[in-house]
């Protein structure tokens, strides 16, 4: 799974039938510290995330399809499966 920030919502009228009623979100991968990486991707939303949210994205077909459409076997390779509230890093903990 990767950490990402939701930066947008993609509108596509013509799309695979299994994507209907799902939201396609534009996501920017981030480091645990919150910095942008060079990787961005699209992911189907399964948790009602919004622009600006830090999210967890799964990039494996079976899980992505099951999470976002309720059934496996859709042409989906990434899905948002959680909204991140907080990341605690060892480096930030008081010693």
């Amino acid at each position: 799974m990767i950490l990402a920030r939701v930066v947008g919502n993609i509108v596509a009228t013509q799309k695979n039938v299994r994507y209907e009623s799902a939201r396609v979100m534009l996501c920017q991968q981030i480091t645990p510290e919150g910095e942008d990486t060079s990787y961005s991707c699209l992911a189907l939303d399964s948790v009602d995330s919004g622009i600006g949210d830090t999210v967890l994205i799964v990039q494996e077909g079976w899980s992505a399809s099951t999470a976002s459409t309720g059934k496996a076997g859709a042409a989906i390779d990434s899905a948002i499966i959680g909204v991140v509230d907080r990341i605690d890093l060892l480096a930030d903990l008081p010693s």
Binding site: V7, G8, T13, Q14, L26, I76, D77
Partner: protein, 92 residues
């Protein structure tokens, strides 16, 4: 899934039987600012995309799911056409 621009078509006469009737398109992957990233790839079309259109594609095994999945050899399929560039660039 990734954003991409369709930049050309590929014509192939001799190909796997299950690819007959399928359109092969050359796609250039784009980042969220619509800048080119990486090298162009060949993708199968499942939605009727044309040259110049902004699309998104799916990678890996899941790419064969819009078709007869057991025997369609593909690892990159176009699965949606984005309505307009503004739908990407108007975002923060």
């Amino acid at each position: 899934m990734q954003l991409a621009r369709v930049i050309g078509t590929v014509v192939s006469t001799v190909k796997n039987e299950s690819l007959h009737g399928r359109t092969l398109l050359v796609v250039q992957t784009l980042d969220r600012h619509l800048k080119e990233t990486g090298k162009p790839m060949v993708a199968i079309d499942s939605v009727g995309a044309g040259v110049g259109e902004l699309v998104f594609w799916c990678r890996g095994k899941e790419a064969s799911f819009p078709f007869k999945r057991e025997d369609t050899p593909t690892d990159c399929t176009i699965i949606g056409i984005i309505d307009s560039e503004g739908h990407v660039t108007n975002n923060k």
